[in-house]
């Protein structure tokens, strides 16, 4: 079993009309054993930018702490909040710094920029940025998520419709993956604020 599959995860981000959504499962496993059903994998970076971290759980926790420190320092120096695109490049840089001994995560970034335009991107474990206008997927259920997103996503979805779409994409993808699931969280980021909802799903 690959090191990226040891803990299991499923993360997806989607762009809508004037909003973005990012969702993740809540399982923490050790190979086939489920150890935690409330493990956080999506973290707020600013009020309008979130990052999802699928992959090895120890690196998920470590990287979130490192990002938090770098973003706080950015705010001190720049006296403004960091934009999602800038943050993505910061993440990419930090990952490539470890090119020959990488962190085993493949981040997914979702946010609204200062003009309220949606921004989403994904990265591989050494920081190659994958920019997209529709959706980004990550984790052990990524193949399943690609199929679900490709068929369910359409452009210009409002916050409520985007919530339904991303929820169905995530729920049905993790139900076909033995290593992810056991609950899900969805964040909808709009200019007015962030709405966070817990999804009721299969617990097997």
């Amino acid at each position: 079993m690959s090191i990226m599959q040891y803990n299991g995860s499923a993360i997806v981000a989607m762009a809508g009309k004037g909003c973005v959504a990012i969702a993740a499962d809540k399982r923490l496993g050790q190979r086939a054993l489920t150890v935690d059903t409330e493990f956080q994998k999506v973290f707020p970076i600013t009020d309008r930018t979130y990052i999802g971290l699928p992959g090895l759980a120890t690196d998920v926790k470590t990287l979130y702490d490192r990002f938090r420190m770098r973003v706080n320092l950015y705010k001190h120096n720049e006296e403004r909040t960091i934009e999602p695109k800038t943050f993505s490049h910061l993440v990419s840089h930090m990952l490539y710094e470890r090119r020959f001994g990488p962190y085993f995560v493949e981040p997914v970034v979702a946010g609204l920029d200062k003009n309220d335009e949606p921004y989403i991107c994904g990265m591989d474990l050494i920081g190659c940025i994958n920019f997209a206008k529709d959706f980004i997927v990550g984790g052990t259920a990524s193949d399943n998520l690609y199929g679900m997103c490709e068929s369910l996503w359409e452009p210009e979805l409002g916050p409520e419709d985007l919530f339904e779409t991303i929820s169905q994409a995530l729920l049905n993808a993790v139900d076909r993956d033995a290593l992810s699931g056991w609950g899900a969280v969805v964040h909808i980021i709009t200019p007015e604020g962030v709405i966070t909802r817990d999804l009721k799903g299969r617990m097997d």
Binding site: G8, A32, L33, T37, D177, A178
Partner: protein, 212 residues
């Protein structure tokens, strides 16, 4: 013992069989995986090898299907030649012979259970090496490791048919929650002199438990 090849279908599994006065209850989850992909989420792992004899399959899907087919053939021959149904002991012995002699090439954990006129209800556990163990209740598959304590605490001899059904349902359900290789629905079969009754428990009707 052979390990599963890459891409081979795996009955990760939780399987169980319990004896009661007059029959047996067999039960299993319904998940088949290839790697971490769930290839079949409604698998039937309870396989009939004769009218009143079922086997629960865990390990390699291909291996257990092949072995069960061979045993089914032999039991069919047996009843034709002897003019009477084979005993569960005979069926278990056939499974054992195949699993033991081919242990280097197979990955199969099988529980054989049923009812016959000579010995009544019987449950036999045949783990990976091909040993044979008669038990009052047997658990197997990757998910079984999580319910040894629960089963040892809750089981008692002299349970009724309905109590056995609840016992299997609750045990398999607990294993399905913790084991990534088990999940889906619970399939049960109650085998008595009168025949076989199949019970189906969908995912949204699993017994309630603490889910974190």
């Amino acid at each position: 013992m052979a390990a599963l090849r890459a891409g081979e279908a795996n009955l990760g599994t939780t399987i169980m069989a319990v004896e009661f006065d007059g029959g047996v209850v067999v039960g299993a989850d319904s998940r088949t995986t290839t790697g971490s992909y769930i290839a079949n989420r409604v698998t039937d792992k309870l396989t009939k090898v004769h009218e009143h004899i079922y086997c629960c399959r865990s390990g390699s899907a291909a291996d257990t299907q092949a072995v069960a087919d061979v045993v089914k053939y032999h039991l069919d021959m047996y009843s034709a030649q002897h003019g009477e149904a084979p005993t569960v002991k005979v069926a278990a012995s056939l499974f054992q012979e195949i699993c033991y002699q081919n242990k280097n090439n197979l990955s199969a954990g099988i529980i054989v259970a049923g009812w016959d006129a000579r010995d009544g209800a019987s449950v036999y556990n045949i783990p990976l090496g091909g040993s044979l163990h008669r038990e009052t209740f047997a658990i197997g598959g990757s998910g079984s490791t999580y319910i040894y304590g629960y089963c040892d605490k809750v089981f008692r001899t002299g349970m009724s048919r309905d109590e056995c059904v609840e016992f299997v349902k609750n045990s398999v359900s607990l294993a399905m929650t913790r084991d990534g290789s088990s999940g889906g629905v619970i399939r049960l079969a109650v085998i008595t002199k009168a025949g076989v009754e199949r019970i189906f428990v969908p995912g949204n009707m699993l017994p309630s438990q603490y889910l974190g």
